[in-house]
Structure formats: structure tokens, C-alpha cells
Symmetry: D2
Subunit: 454 residues, 4 copies
């Protein structure tokens, strides 16, 4: 640390062109040391962004390179350098490691376990959590990475979301400090794979009211009975977060169940036409015994479960964006090379009409989700905001993938052309984490003040 004299000298040099009257006035309004601290921590790009923001634009026309699926430059304009770098690194990984193998696995309805260690290396699991080896980044960044993953494959993105969001999130939000210490660092490294068991055969996404899996404390142990359906990662997960209703109190509690727990059985769901890579299981619990130590200590009512869902729902909207973007980019490429009547089909009005329709939906989704994540990062997110984004994005994504397939003619139904898979997967996104109907009624209640669920 410099002594006062040299400080003053430095200050003089530094500030000789500064208007000190203004500075003094300013010092009354703001915490100057903190500003210096903060600005110092910014990188070049952020500083330029800040200057620009404050000045309202340089006025110079800047030419940005065209980016197919980011028409309004949300990525290269709005992210910090390190975040932008991370985005591009994740994208490169997906294009190099995932894209080449994904149609094959999808077709066989199997999971590519070989990518798990590579995913771990990216160090993006538990992205927004603080501590426990997690990077502590923004929700916006998490959303953007969800988009990147789904842009290449929605199944992989779903696998990741179950691990990082639902399973780790349950422990992060509802676990004791001890439980967090025990599981989160290992899960962040994919050394432990998790699953999240809420949905049941007869109880869909609006699960609260009707959960039928029960838990009962007998002699200090919990006994669980019931069935869970659609549980992603369930066939190979090391631990599963299982939600059950206590018979006496009616409260919903959460448990960490290990795969070899007696009374726990899982069966792979067959014959899906969407997200075929995701291994969904039907779980049967038959007098399944769990220690009190493996009960999530801070999950006492369904409201606690709901916190986990609220946290992850924005991510599903971003997945929809990624799915649409992947389909759009593949379709655009195709139309620029496929010829009909002697010229690229991209030169026909009817094809351009489809492309522009897709792109306008895609761009609207991107700006909507961008703002959604900002609300989340500002602590303003409510259920209805996320539900609106889920409804809008999953609906528009259906339209986008449908047009993408259409411009590819018959080739659009062949997996190798990289659009058919998105068409199928969009159906899953459309329905999971709350159907369009349920999410519509959540928003409807918020804006009208009337509940119309029943």
C-alpha cells in the first residue's frame, strides 16, 4: 500500500483533468471507494459496455459478424467476456463431442455415458449455487447454457437439468448443511448422479394436491410406499430425491434414496417418441426404509418442493429456445444448399416466409427469456413470469421445429438431417414441468385474480 504522500501525488496525476467540483458532489451521492473497487474488477469489455451504456451509444456504426440464431446480438453484446467465453466453450464441446453421436443414441433410446466425464470438465454443473464447489454464476448465464445444450440436443440438456437443477437444487435449497457438504461437491463433479422423483402415474405436474406416495416414521425410520413415473436419470442414478406425503400430517417430505436401497425398484420406460436419450423410470417403493439422516431436513411442506420447481422453470423456457434455435439453424443451412428447379430453395418466397417466421419467433423467445433471467437475477421472479415464458416458448418452439421440418421436405423426417429429433423432442418440452394448460392457469390466476383450475 502506498503512503499518503505518494497517494496524493498519484491522485494528483490521476485526477488532474477531473472536475473536482463534480467529483465532490458525486462523492456525496455515491460510495466512491466501492465504485473504484467495482470498476476495477470489470474487464475491458465490461468497461466499454458501461461507458457505452452511460453515454447512450458511441454513435459509430459497429458491424457485428452475422450469427445465424442470434439475430439481435444478445450473446456478444450482453455477456461479460468470461461468460461469453464460457458460452462459446460449452458450444464447442457440444458440437465436437455431442452432435456427432446424438442421433445414434436417440434412435436406440440409449444414454451416451461417455460424455459424463467430459461434461464434468466444463465445470458448469450447479452453475448458480454459491459454495460446495459451484461456480456461483448468474441465472442469465445458466439460461444461456441451457439454450446452448438444447441447441445441440434436448435430451442432454434435460439430463443436465435433472442433475444440476432438480436433484442438486433439492439438496441446495432443502438439505441440511451436512447434506450439502456430503452430496453437492460430488454431484457437481458428476461423481454422483442424481434424479428427482415427484411425478406419479396419476399425478401430473400440478402435483401438490394429490401426491399418493406415502412416508411414515416407524421406530425412527421412514417407510415409503408408492409409485413415481417419468423420473429422468432414474435407471442409473446413484441417489434419488423422492417426495412423499406423510400419512398423519399430510405434509410433503423429501428423501435422499440410494439406488441399492431395499424396497426401491426402477423400471425403464420404453417406447418414447421424444427425448429418447433421457432414461425415464417408473419407480416402485415397497416398504422402502430410509434413515432420518437421509430426509431433506428443510423440506417440510409442498412449498419447499415448489421452491425447487420455481428455480428450474426458467431453464425449461431456455431449453425451448435452444431446441428452436437448433432446428432453425439446421433448416437455414439446408435451404441454402438444397436445390429445386435449379436454384437453392432458400431463394424461394415460400421458403423465406418459413425462415423469417421461425427467426421472428426465435428472436422473440430470446429477448423474452433474457428479460426473464434478468428478473430472476434481480430477485423479482414470480411463478407467473416463469409460467408465461414456459407457455410462450414451448408453444412457439413447436411452431419453429414444425416449419424447420417442413422446409426440408421428406429429408426432414430423417434423423441424419438433424431436425427430426428436435421435432419430436419439442413435444416433451411442451408438456414437462407443467403442461401449457397448467401454466396458462397459473398466469391466468395472477392476472385476473380468479383461480380457474377446477
Amino acid at each position: 500500500m502506498a503512503n499518503i504522500f505518494s497517494s496524493l501525488k498519484n491522485a494528483y496525476n490521476l485526477f488532474k483533468h477531473v472536475d473536482f467540483d463534480k467529483l465532490e458532489a458525486l462523492s456525496k451521492k455515491v460510495d466512491l471507494p466501492k465504485i473504484v473497487e467495482t470498476i476495477s474488477s470489470l474487464d475491458d469489455k465490461q468497461i466499454q459496455g458501461m461507458m457505452k451504456m452511460m453515454g447512450g451509444g458511441s454513435g459509430k456504426k459497429k458491424e457485428l459478424p452475422p450469427i445465424e440464431g442470434d439475430f439481435y446480438h444478445l450473446g456478444d453484446e450482453a455477456l461479460k467476456d468470461e461468460d461469453r467465453e464460457l458460452q462459446l466453450k460449452v458450444r464447442a464441446f457440444l458440437e465436437k463431442e455431442v452432435k456427432p453421436i446424438v442421433n445414434h443414441y436417440w434412435n436406440k433410446a440409449e444414454f451416451p455415458f461417455e460424455i459424463i466425464p467430459k461434461l464434468a470438465e466444463l465445470n458448469i454443473c450447479g452453475l448458480t449455487y454459491k459454495g460446495y464447489g459451484c461456480p456461483g454464476k448468474s441465472n442469465l448465464m445458466e439460461g444461456i447454457l441451457a439454450m446452448e445444450m438444447a441447441r445441440i440436443d434436448t435430451s442432454i440438456s434435460t439430463f443436465f437439468g435433472v442433475q444440476s437443477g432438480l436433484a442438486m437444487g433439492s439438496i441446495y435449497l432443502c438439505g441440511s448443511e451436512e447434506q450439502k457438504q456430503q452430496w453437492l461437491p460430488l454431484m457437481q463433479q458428476f461423481k454422483i448422479i442424481g434424479a428427482f422423483g415427484l411425478t406419479e402415474p396419476e399425478v401430473g405436474s400440478a402435483a401438490a394436491g394429490g401426491l399418493t406416495t406415502t412416508c411414515k416414521k416407524i421406530d425412527g425410520k421412514w417407510i415409503l410406499n408408492g409409485q413415481k413415473k417419468w423420473i429422468g436419470n432414474a435407471t442409473f442414478a446413484d441417489i434419488l430425491i423422492i417426495w412423499a406425503r406423510e400419512e398423519e400430517s399430510g405434509d410433503v417430505k423429501g428423501f435422499i434414496i440410494k439406488k441399492d436401497n431395499p424396497g426401491f425398484a426402477v423400471e425403464k420406460m420404453q417406447d418414447k417418441m421424444a427425448l429418447r436419450i433421457v432414461q425415464n423410470g417408473i419407480i416402485t417403493l415397497t416398504n422402502c426404509e430410509v434413515e432420518e439422516a437421509d430426509r431433506l431436513q428443510n423440506a417440510n411442506t409442498f412449498k419447499d418442493t415448489a421452491k425447487v420447481l420455481q428455480m428450474t422453470r426458467a431453464g425449461v423456457a431456455w431449453q425451448a429456445v435452444g431446441c428452436a434455435r437448433g432446428a432453425y439453424e439446421n433448416a437455414l443451412d439446408y435451404t441454402r444448399t438444397r436445390k429445386q428447379f435449379g436454384k437453392p430453395i432458400a431463394s424461394f418466397q415460400l421458403i423465406q416466409n418459413h425462415l423469417v417466421d421461425m427467426l421472428s419467433n426465435l428472436t422473440a423467445m430470446q429477448t423474452l427469456c433474457f428479460r426473464l433471467s434478468q428478473l430472476q437475477d434481480q430477485g423479482l421472479l414470480k411463478d407467473e413470469h416463469a409460467s408465461l415464458a414456459k407457455v410462450f416458448c414451448s408453444s412457439r418452439t413447436r411452431d419453429v421445429v414444425s416449419s424447420a421440418r417442413e422446409v426440408m421436405g421428406g429429408n426432414g423426417i430423417l434423423l441424419e438431417y438433424n431436425v427430426a429429433r428436435f421435432v419430436a423432442d419439442a413435444e416433451a418440452i411442451y408438456s414437462y414441468e407443467g403442461t401449457k394448460e397448467i401454466n396458462t392457469l397459473i398466469v391466468g390466476r395472477a392476472i385476473t385474480g380468479f383461480s380457474a383450475f377446477v
Copy 2:
């Protein structure tokens, strides 16, 4: 100005808690004096915004009051205090002065001249221009005000857009300094009303190629011949910017024509079913003589005309948002009070479905236009960005007003319920400043590299 000694003392006091090493390092990266200058010019809210942005959010959950048509809080979050204040002032004016009279005038297809002086008082004309009495504000702010106006009445918003954007914009971008001095301050105060004459009976929005109105220089004067159609404000404008093709060179030139100019005649267009308040004229020029001094000195080719159009196109997208927002808010209110089968219709699933559909489109449009204006303020706006927004917003607005009318049943076709007018006006927005088809092909060309216009 303080002498150096007191400066240093002040500096010492100001900076005693500052980490000078960091500050010194920072001074190498940034222009410190400029930063101080800039930060000093910010108001409290901006400073808080900046701190927040840099710190990534306070983490505290803030409860914002619900705002019907601004579901994602774009207004109260993203505007500077003074801009937010201006937005609310303009809104209040519209609700108090315009809303009560607008159905009456629309029905009679007449213009409410009494509001012109009140509009002038708002001091928002020529909002983004620098100098000539204009406020020099951001394009984002201009977009938001266009939304506010269209939210109450799209005709008034159009009247304003012709005056502030097209007519003044032509002079601002293509006029000589003398012409600017002569006209802009008066127009900014609505003491002179302007019009913009480009479209012709057989030549639509893609006017460039086929303009048939001619100009010819004879004995130092310009002689104009031809017809213009759809010219807003034309029946009562004091001056009209007329675009004509020079016969010899083929170049398009612009002229400032006064309403009493011999050879100039205008006829009011009758029987419109949309924007009935806007007075569109058919202009006939018969050997209309114009002085060289009234030729726009910097308009030499169609590219210069196009600059004006490019500048205003984002505003049309924002108008669409306003039109949709006005319809949505009126419909929402209606459904909360109108009863059927003994309960408010807002409590029925089918009605909520419409409302949420409207709101999701509205919110997507808002976030899209928000980003569009940011691009414009950053100097990144290209034709295709604006065209995409025009296509998306004017299409979705059609959907929104249509649903708004539907939830109101028969009452939706009565002007007094404040939705019928939006339904009709949405059709005009949909087609002016480039039909959906033309704008689609502009975007299509940009993304595919192929022109499909012909």
C-alpha cells in the same frame, strides 16, 4: 475551480478509503476524467442501476406493484427516473385528453385539432433529434412513447409519427442547415404541420424502383408532376415533403411544398375502415413549381429517402405494441367485471386462455422492441432488424386485438368498449411502412443471401 492544494486535500478526503493500486491500474484502462464526468451526470436511480448492474443484483426480493400491460416490468425497471416520469406524463395526458374523445372522432372520420396545442406542450416532438429545440433523447424512449400513444389511439400515434418522424426526419436527415433552422423549431412546436409524400397509387411501400412522380429543372425552377396516395396529414399540412424522380438522371429528389403552392391539389381519402382519424390524402401535382431553395439539399438518391424510413420503422413496431397493449388492458378489465352464468367471465378457463395468450404475445413484443431500440441506440440497427420487428409485432398484434374482441363477445364490436377501434386499426399498422410480405423478404434476403422479391 479549486486550486491544486485544496484539490489534493479534497482528493485525500475523497479517496482515503480507496485502494490506490487498483485505481492506478484502472486509470490505465479507462478515461477516468470522462468516467467522473459521466457518473456525475447520472441521477440517483441510474447510479443505483449501475451499481446493481455491476454487482449482479442486490439479491433482495423486491415486490413491484402489478402493472397490467407491463408484465415483465420493463417500464419501471429499465428507464431513468426522468424518462419514466416523462412516460407517465405522456400517459396521463393521453388518458385525460385523448381517450374521452377519440371514439367520437374515429366514428366521424375527423381529426381532433384541439389536441395539437396540448401535444406541443408535452415537448416530445422530434424526440431524438439534437438541436433545433428538440430534446435529444434515446430511440428507446421514442419507442416507448410511440407505444404509449398507440395504447390509447393508433391514429394519434400515426399523426405524431408523420410529423415528428417522417416530415421532420426528412428535413433533419436530408435538409440543409438553413432548412433545418427554418422548419424544425416550428414543427417541433406544431406551429407548422408536415406531411410526407412518397407512396403512389400504383407504387407501394417498396417504392424505390418504380416512383412515377417526376421532377424536372426548367429555368432554375423544379416542375413536379404526378400523384401521391395515402399521404397522412396531407389535407391540413402546412408543408409536404414530396419525393419525385428526376426524368433525366433517374435520381429521387425531395421537395418541401407549401399547401398553397399552385399546381398542388389534395383530396381527402374517404371510407377507410381503419385509422379513421388519420386524414389521408391523394395529392395531384400538375406542373407544380418549386424553388431550388425548397429542394432538400442532401437528398440526392433513393438511399437518402431510405435513411428516413429506416429511422422511423422501429417506431411502427412500437406502435403495434401499443395497439396490442391498449386492447389487452381493456379486455382484461372487461372480463373481470362482465358476468355470465353468475360469475365474472375472467374466471372461466376459456377466457383465461385468451388473456394469457394475449399477454404472452404482448410481453414478447415488448422485450423484442426493447432490444431493437437498444440496437438502434448502439448504432447497430440494420434494416432487417427493424423489418423483423415490424413483421413480428404487427402480426402478433393482429392476434391480440382479435382475442381481445373475442372475449368481449358482441360488445367487442361497439366502439364504446374501446377494443373495436384497435381491431380495425391493427389492420392499418399491419400494412403500412411495408407489408408483411415486403418486410419478410427484406429479412429473408439478409439471412439467406438470396433476394426473392421478384
Copy 3:
């Protein structure tokens, strides 16, 4: 029964021009006595239909002239000669007498009384009723004429529907023989104009449950109190069918009220943006006295009212078809002559896409309504059939008129181009005689077995 000899003689006379070889051969293939029995039971119309049908399916390839809005040749293939002739006569009348004046009246929101005597001359009022001067034609024919009228103007078609369907229909279905004799012949000739008052300010199309207008019998007279809204023709009707609930019994009864009846007042509804030619009134009944003789003698519960509505609902579906057809045909014509970039816009892919989309919807509506009327003529029509047609046709018509306006660009909002009016009027069709929501729930109940109204 005639004896054999006279039989033979008769046979001789009957068959002297018959080719007996053929007849003998035929007798081996068919059951001749049964054929005679059957043919004898047919009415004229059926016999002509049979002759036509037998002559139609020749297997020869017949070239029909192209008919713009009847792509699948429903008119010239499926109608009897005299019906086809009537269709073309009505069409010619509409094009000659109605089309030239209709935009003018629509714009001024006034009714063209001069066409009433000409309409009377067509002798198509009360088309399906038997007796009382009515033609006794099929429901199919009535539907087709509703389409023809709406094809030129939906307001005129609505005026006609109120007179012929709702007002006369109430008397035809619910009146005593004396009432029928008194009113139907005069109404069939348009010497008496009728109206139908069911809807109330707070009670929409699903009126049954909540009718608030009351009737009470005091000293042998009925006293009516309450309000009716949206009553077509009400401002100038000679008689009005008014439906009211008897306070004591709760039953709905119908009354024939004359326009000068004390206690009866009507006010014209202003500022509609659709069906502006139709004169809707708000009726106020203040201790309005009606003789028992003017009570519809066979209307005792709401079920009787519902019979009238059921009978007319198919007609609304046909009106939607006509509205769509009018818009389509005008748009098609426009696109074949309007040029852009030097060629007719009908030669662009984007325009053809709109046209084909319109035509496919139009053709689907036509075949659907055709079958609907067949069901009606076969006595198989149920509420849900008509409701399905109403929902489908009024929804698709909205799409068609919207595309029609779109291909016309800005000119689409000018009444003179003959599409703007259809755009506005389609909104009224969409909501009257049961909104989309109400009709959807009627069908929904029929197919699921569950009522979801409340």
C-alpha cells in the same frame, strides 16, 4: 283396387311409349313393384333430384366452367335445375341492386330501405316453410341463398335472416294457426317487418338461464318489463317477438309486440364497427301491456324458443361461408390486376399461398355446410352439429377475410375495394347466435358427456 282388365288397359296407356325389352330385362334385376311404390312416395323435388342424379354419374369427363368461389362445383352439380336457377337469380339481384350501394350505406350506418320491395319480388322469404305463401323449399337451398346474400353483404343477409328466420320462424314454430294466418303471408311479402328480442344487456346468447325481462298476467293482460339489446331491425320493425320470463312460473313466454305499443321504446345502437347496416336497437319495456291474443300460443318454455334458434343456426354458418367467399373473390380479382415490380401480384408465391389458404378454407366450409344442410333435410340435425359448423365456419371466415385484406395491402382498408367491410362484419358473425366459446361447449358436452359451462 282396379281389376286386372282395367289394370292392363291402364298399363297399356301408361307404358305405350316404354321400351318393354328393357323393362323386362330390368325386372330381372330389380324389384319393380317396390320401385313403383317407392317412386310414388316421392315428392316432385325428390323425383327431380333422382332424375338428375341418374343423369349425372355418367362416367364421362365433363368440363365445367371455372367458378371462382365454388371450386368443388357444389352449386352446378348438386342443385336441381330450378334451384340452381333461383340461386343465380338471387345472385344477379344482389350484384345489380345491392352491391353498388352497400358500401355507402355501411359507411353511414344506415339501412337501404329501397331494396325491401325488390327482395320481396324474389319470393324467397320464409323459404322452407310450408303454407302461408311460403315456397316450402329445402334447408340446403335456404343455406345456399344465405351464402349468396352474405357473399355480397352480410348486413343484408342478417336483415333477411331476422325477418325470415327468427321473426317468422317464431310464429311458424310457436304461433297458433290464427297467428300464422295473420302474420306470415304479410311478412313473407315484407309488408310487415319483424324483429326478434331475446338477448339482454347482461344476458348473452346462452340466454336460457338468466333472462331478466319479465311478464306477468294481470286482469287478462300481460305486463312486460325489462330491456333487450342488440335487437336487429328493431328500430323500424312493425312487430317484435319479445321473450320474457313469467315471474311466478319461471317459464319463458313469447309475445308479438307492435311498434306503437305503449310502454315499448327502442333506441338505435350507435358506433358499431361491424354490420353497420343492420339497425340494432336497445328495447326498453316499461309496463308494456300485451293482449293474450298476441302471446305466442305454443311457446311455453325456453325449449320452444330454442327450437327457433336451432332452426336458424345452420344459416349463420352459411352466412360465414358467404362472407368468406365474397372476400376471397374480391381479393382474387384484385391480385390478378394489381401490379408490383412490374407483374400481377397473383404471380408471387407469397400471394398464391394466401389465396390457396383462403380457398381451401372456403371449400372446406362449403362441403361442411352442404352436409350440415343435408342432415337438416334428413331430420338428423342436432344442436351440436350446427354448433360445430358455426364454430368452424365463423373461425375460418375470420382467417379468410384477414388474408383477403392482407393481399390487398393498404387498399384492403378502403371500403371501395370491397374487402374491408367483410373483415369488419366477420367479427359480428363470429360472436352472434352463440360465441365460439358457447358453441364449443355445446359440442364439447355432446362428445364428452360432460358439461363444462360453469
Copy 4:
């Protein structure tokens, strides 16, 4: 001509059971000789149709049992008894033999060869052809059976269409009498399986212009070279109709190639996400030698090929109807039993809205196709009629299957619930035998007079 006496005697015999009073009365209303003449000229089928028709329109209200997917009673009203019986027989076969196995095969992308002999027993192959063991039924009947097949499985329906329509049709329309005798009876019995090779890797449905597979006559033999793609049944067909362009003349010729022909190779197309049961092949012809005797003797230009396509195109529209109907019926059943919030989801407004939307589209498609087949049976069918139906039905089917899946929530993506397969297969129907774009431009050309293909 018989003399009077024998005439009378014959008359006596013929008419002894006839009610002469009725006959006499009838003779005053109708032209009896003409009736006899006409009836005599009818075939059995027409006579039965007439009897049925005459017995149908009784005016009595008939209550028909509700039929889920035939809301407007097209089946039980409009078909002759024997045809109705055949329809129900085919339906029973499909439900009993095909439905139980089809998800399994679809999932494995294999063909259920065991059903071929059972299909043969139905005796419906080559349904409309006259002679060669074919039933000679109407095009309407063929359409209805295509719907029945696709209602259970679109792949099976496609397999059948390739055999009965494309392969046999090529021989029926373009083969010599000898070729017909040789192949059609065996193919009608499925003893020989056929395929139809027109589409190429780079040449889609608008094949005419650009066919690149060549044929050349050398030393009395034809040498074929080139590739074909998407050829249904190709991997196991006994014979394949291959279309190739003669190098010298440019004319397109057709050939019957046997599977073991040297120079002929076929590879199964993998990884389709739709119609997975259909075995599409990529065919490679390498100096493939064909005898003149195996050239289709009456296929000399592309117009001859087009005749085959025209004949089969209506069938594709009917397949779309079947696909939609299958999805709708399964979805309706599901919603009536699946419970949420304690009641069947069919009782919710949002679900009924979907169901009614599906049903209205389905019913519109049915009436449209019904009329289309009537035009075909009347010899009035043109390309543009079939193209319109293809566009309308395949588009609306996409909507129907999409809604069907939606009301089933997550279960909609499991094959076992019998809707997922229709969702996927609808994509194939949408694109084969001419994409929406190509068919739109065919109709567009017909109605505007302008070709917009290029």
C-alpha cells in the same frame, strides 16, 4: 319391338304386384317412359344407391348411434349397404389384427409381413380397377378404406397405397394388355409385391423436370443408370416400377424391374422418425439391363406417369383424414377416463376446446374428401382439386394430431397410448406426394392463371 298383346302380357306379369292406383297417379307427375329408360341404364350399384337414397330422405327424424370420429354420419348415411359392410369389415380386421402389433413394429422400424396374407383375404387391393380380379368399386369407397387403414396405422395404409395404387396403377394405366394379365391378378392377391420408383435424391415430388435416372436402348435392350430414393416397399418388393429419362429423346419411360435383376441394388433407409414401418429404399441402378417386354408399353412421356399420380393423390388426402381420426378418437377416449383434480379431464373447458377444435377440423376434412371423391367418380377431378385436398387435409391433420398429443400430457409421447405414432406419421403425410408448397403452387396456378414455381 314387341306387339301390343305381348306387351300387355308382359306388363301384366311385370306389374301384377304393383299398386296401379299409385302408378297412375305417378304417371301424371312424371315421365314414366323416361324413368324406365333411365333406370334400365343403371348398373346394380346405381340402382341400390337409388333405392337407398329414396328410402333415406323420409323426413322422419332418425336417431343414429353416436360415432366418435364420424360426427356428420358420412359412413352410415352415404354408403351402400354392401360398401358399408365392407368398410366395417376392413375396420374390424385392422382393429383385431393390426392395432395390437403396430406400435411394436413401428418402434423397431420393421415390417409385419404376417399381415400380408390377411390383407389379401379382404380382397380390397386394386379396388377401383375393372377386370384382372379387381373389385371395380368407386373411388369414394377407396378413399374411405384408405381412411380406415390410416386410422389404425398410416404405415400400413402407405404400404397398401404403394401396392394397390402406385405399382398396380402404373401397370393398369400404362401397361400393355399382356403386362396387365401377367401382373395385376397376382398383385391383387399380394402374391407379388410392387414398388414405385420415381423420386430421386435430388429430385423431389415435382419430379417431371429434372429426372436424372437415364435409360438407353442398346441392341434391343434397355440400360438404366441412376438413383432413386424414398422408394416404399423397395427392400422386399418383387417388382419395381422404375421411371427413367431416355437420353436421346428426353422422354420419361417406365420399366418393370425384378428384384434379382443384375445392376439393381437397394439399401434400406435408416433412422426415420415417421412411418417407421414403411421400408423405404435407396435404389442404385448400374447398367441395369431391362427387356423391351418389361417396358410399360403405354408410358411414353411424363404425362403418363402423371396420370398415375393424379389417380392416387386423393387417397393421400383420405390417409390424412384417417391419421387425424385415429388420433382424435384415442385422445377423446383418454380424456374421458384420465382424471386430474379429481375429475375426468374431458370435463375441463381447455380440454373440450381442444377436442372440438380437432373434431371440427376432422369433420371438415371428411366432407371435403367426400366431395373430392364424388368429383373423381363423376370424372370431374382435376389436379388442382386433389392438390387442394392434399394441402388442406395434411395441414389440418398436423393440427389435429398435435392437439391430440397435447391433451394427453406426457403420456402423449409414449407409443402405447396410440397417439405419438400419429404425431410422427403426420409429418410424412404432410410432405409426401408433393409438399404443401408444391401443391399450393399447383392450385395457385389454376386459380390465378400464373405459374409461380420458379
